[in-house]
């Protein structure tokens, strides 16, 4: 067996990566987790989590993320601040190049780099931080007594739109279909919230403003009617794009760039696994991400055992 720096390298410190790391540390594998920003993942921008078992009163996303990081560290997982610039993957040795200039080798890689909020690409880029936001818990308080547009119809959009009403006087929830995709309990809350007005069958086509957002332009997809809402901000939750720029040429992905895996979380390259929001999965939740992480580490452990058998 080729000698490598690590048994397992985990890329990304969200719930999936942290769980994989906990299992690897407990299995006494030689493991490291690389995180380019701060560990915790998308959960730390979530205002409130009430569908993660073990917290019957609910918990803030930040607190849940922080608890996971603490737990992983307590169990012995080293977390390093590094970004992956390139990787070379062969069966028994994987080489990872890091932004610090270091190069490390490993038997297995667990890709857990997650996904980022998808952009609309209707000119919102120039209003980033000037009325356009993807994080309600971060930015909603800047819009006290203002009018907001929220875009999307899934769990995140509906949950966060409800959060916006704690500050805004009115939230227009713009959705491209005529019904919400979010889970029923969230739909019920949104539809009976006096401050939320649904704008069905519609998409955002652009926005205007001198220094920050002042107007949001819409089009009704059924009637083709154009309209404009006077709003001070626009919060966007229309799904995610995977963070796979460093790996998309090495492993098979779907059209959207999400990484294909089998039921053992193995990608098209033996010994390389993908977990959580970065992979093609029918459900992107904290609960499913942590399950992925546990499975991937078990698979990695088996893979390393098999390498030892092949002399």
């Amino acid at each position: 067996m080729v000698k490598t720096d690590y048994d397992v390298i985990i890329i990304g410190g969200g719930p999936a990566g942290l769980t994989a790391g906990m299992y690897a540390a407990r299995a006494r594998l030689n493991v490291v987790l690389f995180e380019k920003a701060a560990p915790g993942g998308q959960v730390i921008v979530t205002d409130w989590v009430e569908n993660y078992p073990g917290f019957p009163e609910g918990i803030t996303g930040y607190d849940l993320g922080e608890k996971m990081v603490t737990q992983a560290k307590t169990l012995g997982l080293p977390i390093e601040s590094e970004e992956i610039t390139a990787m070379t993957l062969s069966k028994d040795e994987k080489t990872i190049h890091l932004s610090s200039g270091r190069t490390v080798t490993t038997h297995t890689v667990i890709i857990a780099s997650g996904a980022s909020p998808r952009k609309l690409d209707v000119g919102e880029a120039k209003f980033m931080g000037k009325g356009v936001s993807f994080c309600a818990t971060c930015d909603a308080p800047f819009f006290r007594d203002k009018v907001l547009v929220a875009v999307g119809g899934g769990d995140t959009a509906v949950q966060e739109a409800i959060y916006l009403t704690k500050f805004a006087t009115k939230v227009y929830l713009v959705h491209r279909r005529d019904e919400l995709r979010a889970t029923k309990v969230l739909q019920e809350r949104a539809l009976k919230n006096d401050k939320i007005e649904m704008v069905w069958d519609s998409v955002v086509t652009g926005m205007d403003g001198f220094f920050s957002v002042e107007k949001v332009h819409l089009e009704n997809l059924k009637t083709k009617a154009q309209s404009t809402i006077k709003a001070d901000g626009c919060f966007i939750w229309v799904g995610t794009t995977p963070n796979t720029s460093y790996v998309k040429d090495s492993v098979k992905t779907d059209e959207g760039g999400f990484v294909f895996t089998d039921t053992h979380m193995e990608t098209s390259v033996p010994g390389v696994y993908a977990v959580g929001d970065v992979r093609t999965t029918p459900l992107k939740q904290i609960t499913t991400a942590v399950g992925d992480g546990a499975i991937a580490t078990m698979s990695a452990e088996h893979f390393i055992e098999n390498l030892k058998d092949v002399k």
């Binding site: 920003a37 701060a38 979530t46 803030t60 980033m128 971060c138």
Partner: protein, 111 residues
Amino acid sequence: MAENIVEIDDDSFEKAVLKADNPVMVDFWAPWCGPCRAIGPIVEELEGVYGEKMNFVKVNVDENPLTPSKYGIKAIPTLIFFKNGEVAEQITGMVAKGKLEETIKGILQEG
């Protein structure tokens, strides 16, 4: 949260930032902002490395509404780099440590 970073307020902003001899990085944050709390340790780490050449301070936007409003801040975390009282660079949202370090080096190199 960045424990070693000096907390300044609306009143001390001019003296601590605009009239400082060194370039200053101001971390606009709030206790309710998860990414702000997550970015804290990165800022602290960089302060350990570059703290002699650049001042690192933070402003709680909840308690100090005037300064963020003056700079048009509607999203946090926002990091603004000041040099001779002028805005030299501004970064909004979660940022990788590498990118942040590059920005700091760039500002220090300009002399």
